[in-house]
């Protein structure tokens, strides 16, 4: 409501400014002895400009009418009246109005079609992205779904023919695949939440609590890396949507697990960094090639050097991490670890709290 009111004032101001500008220039032209038709063209130009810069066609319509009256009032003999001595002037006024009005209509039409084209381009881009997402998802969902339904149907139809160890393996595979799908659904949910511009559920959170919660979400069954949460020397409070940040940390740690050898170490730490709190997930794996770093945070990018037997990720995780961190007003980056490995660091706005009580 308030916004449209402001827009109205802005458009009105713009129209008045252009019309008075044309009138002022008209006086100059008049003084320099230019003919009236030049001044008329000035008004035509003014109306055209108003048509381009204002939101609604009523402004250019009213301006077209006003310009005729202004022209008549200021520049036609007798000046400063709305009368005209010469018999031809009424026709001139009508033609002037029609020209101004028609040209402004054309301008509006042009503006509209340009806007439509722009919207169409955005729509096409969204559609392209959507179909890319659908293609990737349906492709990558099929793999675990095939494994789950296949393993389950084997167990249903011929459970007795497997020995205990094989059966156990089948159950374990079903469980693993289901967990993988759960992760995926969490990421997809988080990304649709961001895409739809749902407001972040911001609250004051302890970095420590968020990191501990994230560690509980890390798939603990299938990794042999050592994960260590470094102690923090102070209470670090951040303003954040806890669920989403847990998702970010979980993704970073799961990535570290997926892309490092079995005996690697993963360190999670947080520290104060000016007005921000920096949280890092570091590993001593092979690290990330410089040429991969740029594309790492893009949607559907999956590194070439991935473990060949590992499950192909969607390439959604880091893309989502960046989107979440940016929505918080922070940034995320990747650096080299010494002597080898990768460090993912993201920042969140720090929060000061005076203790009540």
């Amino acid at each position: 409501m308030k916004r449209s009111y402001r827009r109205f004032l802005l458009d009105l101001g713009c129209s008045l400014l252009v019309l008075s500008g044309a009138t002022a220039l008209g006086f100059l032209f008049d003084r320099w002895g230019f003919t009236n038709s030049n001044i008329m063209l000035l008004y035509q130009l003014g109306v055209l400009l108003i048509a381009i810069f204002t939101a609604h066609r009523s402004y250019s319509l009213l301006s077209a009418i006003a310009s005729v009256f202004l022209f008549n009032y200021f520049f036609i003999q007798p000046k400063f009246t709305l009368n005209a001595y010469e018999a031809g002037y009424p026709v001139t006024f009508v033609v002037m109005f029609l020209t101004a009005f028609l040209s402004s209509s054309l301008a509006i039409q042009l503006k509209k079609s340009a806007k439509e084209k722009e919207e169409a381009a955005v729509l096409i881009e969204n559609e392209r992205l959507r179909s890319a997402i659908l293609r990737t998802i349906s492709h990558d969902l099929r793999t675990p779904l095939t494994a789950i339904s296949g393993n389950a149907s084997n167990l249903l139809s011929s459970e007795e023919s497997f020995d205990a160890q094989t059966r156990r393996q089948l159950y374990a595979d079903i469980y693993e695949d289901a967990l993988w799908l759960t992760d995926l659904v969490e990421n997809l949910l988080a990304s649709t939440k961001l895409e739809n511009g749902v407001a972040l559920n911001l609250s004051v959170e302890l970095a420590d609590e968020i990191l501990n919660e994230a560690l509980q979400h890390v798939r603990s069954a299938d990794h042999s890396q050592t994960i260590e949460l470094m102690p923090m020397e102070e209470l670090l409070l951040v303003k954040a949507d806890a669920r989403l940040i847990v998702q970010v940390v979980t993704n970073l740690v799961n990535n570290a697990i997926q892309y490092t050898p079995a005996d690697s170490h993963i360190w999670i730490s947080a520290r104060r960094d000016g007005a921000m709190v920096s949280i890092s997930v570091a590993d001593d794996g092979p690290g990330i090639a410089p040429e991969d770093r740029e594309k790492l945070f893009d949607s559907f990018y999956v590194g070439e050097s991935r473990r060949s037997d590992g499950r192909r990720g969607l390439g959604l995780g880091l893309f989502l991490c960046r989107a979440i961190i940016q929505a918080h007003g922070g940034e995320i980056r990747v650096n080299d670890n010494e002597p080898h490995g990768a460090v993912f660091t993201f920042s969140l706005p720090a929060e000061e709290v005076e203790k009540h009580g």
Partner: protein, 240 residues
């Protein structure tokens, strides 16, 4: 009573089946209901020990079921919710639920929650009226207003002590941020959430006896906090 009776309220048959099979395999007795109406009926007729309640029921809102059941009994209710939105859980907890599980949950998680609730029931039955609270290494003497850890007196600020008492009186129950801040500070709870974090962190540090055992106070991100009831012989650390 040797076996606990659990009421399972869930409209989806495969999830209901999963829960009842799990309960049976772990030595619980159970009864099940598929909608809110029959959930309230069954609870009234059979007086179960614990109720597992799905929030998305076909006939009425799960929160309404909690309110009706709470109108006559304090039977522990564990809410099961497929919605990842915290607001539903918080609403359910504020309406009187004790704990929650989010789908998809693992079987071990379900069993852990049941054990926590059982300990709470046992505690409530034995020491409801006592003026001294015991929980693992922690002792709170409400009458003299002091708390100790492994016999050593804890130096707590007044707010920390109030927090500790609130958690102890509701041991085993998830308390929402709103509930806690309103009980400690009153008034506008959102402006006190930062203070709550700080006091909770310092309180937790003071309660850490350095033995590396499971913390007494559990954090529920986006929801609230809970004090876990520990048993002397139970060093089980897999809750969560």
């Amino acid at each position: 009573m040797d076996k606990y009776l659990i009421e399972v309220v869930e409209d989806d048959s495969s999830v209901r089946n999963l829960i009842t099979v799990t309960l049976k395999a772990n030595g619980y007795r159970y009864l099940s209901a598929m909608n809110g109406q029959s959930a309230v009926m069954e609870a009234a007729c059979h007086n179960p020990d614990i109720i597992l309640l799905d929030l998305g029921l076909p006939d009425m809102d799960g929160v309404e079921v909690i309110r009706r059941i709470r109108s006559w009994t304090e039977t522990p209710i564990i809410v099961i919710s497929a919605r990842s939105d915290d607001d539903d859980k918080i609403e359910a907890l504020d309406a009187g639920a004790d704990d929650y599980l989010t789908k998809p949950f693992s079987v071990s998680e379900l069993l852990a929650r049941l054990r926590v609730t059982q300990r709470r029931i046992a505690h409530a039955g034995s020491s409801a009226a006592e003026s001294i609270f015991h929980n693992g290494p922690l002792t709170v003497d409400y009458a003299s207003g002091c708390a100790s850890l492994k016999g050593a007196q804890l130096k707590l600020t007044p707010i920390e002590y109030k927090l500790l008492c609130l958690l102890a009186r509701n041991v085993g129950k998830v308390l929402t941020h709103k509930y806690i801040t309103q009980h400690i500070w009153g008034g506008n709870w959102e402006s006190n959430i930062g203070s709550l974090r700080v006091f909770m962190a310092t309180l937790r540090k003071k309660l850490d006896d350095g033995s590396g055992s499971a913390p007494l106070i559990q954090t529920h991100i986006g929801v609230g906090y809970r004090m876990l009831k520990q048993e002397a012989e139970d060093n089980n650390t897999q809750e969560g």
